[in-house]
Symmetry: C2
Subunit: 389 residues, 2 copies
């Protein structure tokens, strides 16, 4: 066995969503015909916007005709999509990037998992706790040491700067799972830290379109000096309903002080062969005026879901974080219950499926995550049941 990657073999299986599915299934077996309200996994439920479907369909037809067929795409993505990302995702924020800075990918999950390949195996990496497990697992597979930054209610779930030297930190804002967005001041402090410590920030902005707080940046490049030390990851999944189409992008600015753009291109050109042409056309359509307006209606729908849940949970006397700048609500378990016990009660007493917070790290213990990405009917019914003691 000695030639098998020991870090991969020793990694525990991630049972979180499998265990949730198992408990939900067991309940359904015992209670046939009872409908479950699934507010667990963070998958979108609304269909793609009509203009996006049109673009996808048109591109499909193009692939069937000799004069419009497309083979291998450019490694970094088609210029039409990169232009749309620059114009719709960055220009309105006052952020100027160049087309060479953008790397279209098959999603922020792949990018945030792969980006650690830029680091040497002995680089120390910091992550928040609770955290999106991909950051942790991808680094563990490479044998790296992880430093956990506890995020607690007392500080609004904002991570404190690392107390020991680290060379890279993952920040996700608005955050999965806590639903909380970093403020401009907090993010500026992180950028200043990275510049002083000569450390790189991996900034996951997958939920950026959900931000409504005026003091929460949508891009880390709204902070002066960030281009030198931060890479950013964007996603079409939650903003435009692309979880089943797979498209995102990484930003590796030319201004990066370690010159990471060239090695990242080398990595992408070696290990990736671009995103499907029809998906890139669909992504472009989601950023052009018609498809963008239609897609943002979906975001408003999910945000209205979040408002309904937030109000019901607060009315029930619960302590709730998130839900304003993200599709997630991070809810303190009542009566000192642990995550799985409250998860079970919500399942058995109210038929609501959630995600136990400890699945996201030790500091998630005592919390449960509600997702607002379900259908309105389920969300409204869940809100009504939460109100009934």
């Amino acid at each position: 066995m000695s030639f098998i990657n020991p870090h991969l073999i020793s990694l525990n299986e991630n049972y979180l969503f499998a265990e949730i599915a198992r408990r939900a299934e067991a309940f359904s077996q015992e209670n046939p015909g009872v409908r479950l309200l699934r507010l667990g996994i963070g998958d979108v439920t609304l269909p793609l916007a009509p203009a996006v479907v049109d673009a996808l369909s048109r591109a499909a037809v193009e692939m069937g005709s000799a004069d419009t067929f497309r083979g291998y795409a450019p490694y970094q993505g088609y210029p039409f999509l990169i232009d749309a990302i620059l114009k719709t995702e960055y220009a309105p924020l006052g952020v100027t990037l160049h087309s060479d800075d953008i790397f279209v990918s098959d999603g922020a999950k792949s990018d945030t998992a792969n980006i650690q390949e830029l680091l040497s195996p002995d680089a120390k990496v910091a992550v928040c706790d609770p955290v999106y497990p991909v950051y942790v697992d991808s680094n563990l597979m490479a044998g790296r040491t992880i430093v956990h930054l506890p995020c607690r209610a007392e500080t609004g779930f904002a991570p404190a700067l690392p107390e020991i030297p680290v060379k890279a930190v993952y920040l996700c804002s608005p955050n999965n799972p806590t639903g909380v967005a970093l403020t401009r001041a907090q993010l500026a402090e992180w950028v200043a830290w990275a510049r002083a410590e000569n450390a790189v920030i991996f900034y996951d902005a997958a939920y950026r379109t959900y931000v409504e707080s005026p003091d929460a940046p949508r891009s880390i490049y709204e902070i002066d000096g960030a281009k030198e030390v931060a890479l950013e990851f964007g996603s079409f999944s939650k903003s435009y309903g692309f979880t089943g189409l797979r498209c995102g992008w990484a930003v590796v600015p030319a201004e990066n002080r370690w010159g990471l753009q060239k090695p990242w291109l080398r990595r992408v050109a070696t290990k990736f062969n671009g995103v499907a042409y029809p998906v890139q056309r669909a992504a472009e359509a989601a950023l052009l005026p018609e498809g963008h307006a239609q897609s943002l209606q979906n975001v408003r729908y999910y945000k209205e879901n979040a408002r309904l849940l937030l109000a019901a949970l607060r009315d029930a006397g619960l302590t709730v974080f998130g839900g304003t700048d993200a599709p997630y609500l991070w809810v303190k378990c009542p009566d000192g219950l642990d995550s799985w016990t409250w998860f079970d009660r919500l399942l058995r007493e109210k038929q609501i499926v959630t995600t136990p917070g400890e699945g996201f790290g030790a500091c998630g213990a005592g919390y449960v995550r509600f997702s607002s990405l379900g259908g309105r009917e389920d969300v409204a019914e869940a809100a009504a049941r939460i109100g009934v003691q």
Copy 2:
């Protein structure tokens, strides 16, 4: 800089296709209006089969309707596609695999680049020379030592077994770039070697549908005992025209003697989020009877291209390998010319763009690769010009 992956930084830029593009562009600048016959990069040129386009279009429409919309796909791929792969790609060969053995991916390039993550950093890896550069570069990025297995005309470009111990070997058959397929006896020897040496074979079968030699297997699992020691990679790119759609699959059999199926699933579930639903439907259609028959017509078209080129090159007195079991012809440069010199002559004197063999490794020196994946008009014109001395 010390926290940046030193193996990634120190890797030379791969200038091959960029250099080819530069020389072709320079020629076009000097000779405006002269049409180039592009037989260089191995990209397909025929459009997708009608049944595949229909499936892609239908799936696009499904994504626009609430009751047929699909979010995250299963990590290993949709069962409908896995079933189609088992039935169309393996059952006719007498190879029985199970659905858990198949991992649908965004292409054999990604898979063959990522599979080395199963290996420990100090595992020694063997590759053929000449070779598809992805195997080499992905291992160099991880800091591994590479052993090159020279493939020469004297042995029909079949690699000899490694003379020093290695724990993994990449085999590509039919081969890119030489176009030669391993025989059943040669492959059986490799499987026996792997079983005896306790080493893993990474078998790239991306060009399998081009095989016509009766003694060349299309899958390594046609060899007894291979399931225990070999992983296989399949691709929709060259067989079904999917270079711009991105779909392939890895086979990690339950019978693998090191139990690699579970760690590979862990890797896939952590770093990948599935292939776009419409692309999976398109891939399924390419394997169902109508789309499969239509797609194989395209393969026959490219193989007829290869026959035209092969005949013309041989008529011109050149020594040619490949072209029968693969869309590539591996041609010895005449008059002792080196690869780039003959490349330049073909470009300047005949306006044919090829790929210099030394771009694939030291043993590729003195050869040039012709691709048969172009349009018939270009190929026929190239064949005619080759005949003119």
